[in-house]
């Protein structure tokens, strides 16, 4: 077939291609809603939530998880275009880890060494490692569906960062249920859960997001 004829063919396909940016916005909203529904249906707030709201340690968990969700989602939005890369704005992904690291240093200074181990191990490590990935499934699926509308230059990377964004959403909800508030606990277990989801995003993205 001649290219001129091929162009005629393409020009006749006027079905709207769907815009990646619009799909991404929908996905972000959809992911939050799915995670919220699952959270309120199956978990809910911890019983002492009103007391917890007055605790800086409790509230700081949300600073970290929301920072992760927002920064990673912003990067996913950039990586959906074929021109997107981590080179220019990828640095924002260090924000959540840096905040968490700061909180860990504060905790180490503020609490006696004898309490460190108990605070790090906490009571809910197993739940943290299960519930964050479970709550992240919905948001991850939404982000991946949006990315299929895009053209990520590096499908595996885009999937992995989508996994981080989904973990940020999931962890924000989970943190409202979890009774372990020490930054030591958060630093030990939350990143592990996020990495599991990021790895899943990488593996799925590498297959699903090729174009």
């Amino acid at each position: 077939m001649r290219t001129d004829d091929f162009i005629s063919l393409l020009a006749q396909d006027t079905a709207s291609p769907g815009n990646f940016r619009a799909a991404f916005t929908m996905a972000a909203a959809g992911g939050v809603i799915i995670a919220a529904v699952l959270f309120f249906a199956a978990l809910g707030f911890r019983p002492d939530i009103s007391e917890a709201m007055r605790s800086g340690r409790f509230l700081f968990k949300f600073v970290v998880t929301i920072a992760l969700a927002v920064t990673a989602a912003g990067i996913v939005r950039r990586l959906g275009a074929p021109t997107g890369s981590l080179a220019r704005r990828g640095g924002v992904l260090t924000l959540a880890p840096a905040l968490l690291l700061g909180a860990v240093v504060f905790e180490l200074i503020a609490t006696p060494a004898g309490q460190w181990e108990a605070r790090l191990i906490g009571r809910n490590a197993g739940l943290c490692l299960t519930l964050i990935p479970l709550l992240a499934i919905g948001p991850l699926a939404c982000f991946l569906a949006a990315l299929r509308r895009g053209a990520p230059a590096n499908p595996g990377l885009a999937g992995a960062i989508a996994g981080l964004a989904a973990s940020g959403v999931a962890a924000t909800f989970y943190a409202a249920n979890c009774a372990d508030d020490s930054p030591l606990f958060v630093a030990a277990w939350y990143p592990m859960a996020a990495l599991v989801v990021a790895a899943a995003g990488f593996l799925i993205g590498r297959k699903l997001l090729r174009w």
Binding site: L10, D13, P82, G150
Partner: protein
């Protein structure tokens, strides 16, 4: 024409195309094809791939630009977007031909500034892939591309509604994109 004004035209046509202007979209595709050809031929030459295969690459890039046009953010320049899609598909197409190459994006951007208006050599991949489409999809594609029929004429000829022809055409093009990709997996 200088590069910025050319890209302004491309962007304007593409924006109009997104708003449903089929003529503007055709102008866009016709206008970028010689640039894609320049890139494809120069790459084939430098890697010792027969130049006759360059047109196959041009068509694969055009199809990808078509299927992925929703990934262009219309508030941003279109040149880098075209270059990035071209580079990505160039690498796929050359890899399928057994050449493991890296293609610097700067080179694609530079060569995209050139145009190759020499007559196109025939493309072959597309015809082989068409034969793997569903019969109805293939009939529609052939009526429109080879016979130059409009959607309406195609619908009348195949006793379908125009809407059904449009849907089938869209699916056929998506299927073609998948066939190009799966070919890569088999090699």
């Amino acid at each position: 024409m200088t590069a910025p004004s050319r890209e302004d035209d491309w962007a304007a046509w593409m924006r109009a195309a997104m708003a449903g202007d089929a003529d503007a979209y055709r102008r866009f595709l016709v206008s970028i094809a010689p640039h894609l050809r320049a890139v494809a031929r120069s790459r084939c030459r430098s890697l010792g791939v027969p130049e006759g295969e360059a047109e196959d690459v041009v068509q694969e890039v055009l199809l990808t630009i078509h299927l992925k046009r929703g990934s262009w953010d219309s508030s941003r320049p279109i040149g880098p977007w075209v270059a990035a899609i071209t580079r990505n598909k160039l690498i796929d197409a050359l890899r399928r031909r057994g050449r493991h190459v890296s293609v610097p994006i700067e080179e694609v951007v530079d060569t995209l500034r050139a145009e190759d208006r020499t007559p196109e050599l025939g493309a072959h991949d597309i015809d082989a892939l068409l034969s793997r489409l569903k019969a109805r999809q293939r009939q529609i594609v052939q009526a429109i591309s080879l016979d130059g029929a409009s959607i309406r004429e195609t619908a009348a000829r195949l006793r379908m509604t125009e809407g059904a022809v449009r849907v089938a055409l869209h699916r056929a093009l998506k299927a073609l994109g998948g066939l190009y990709r799966s070919d890569m997996g088999e090699d």
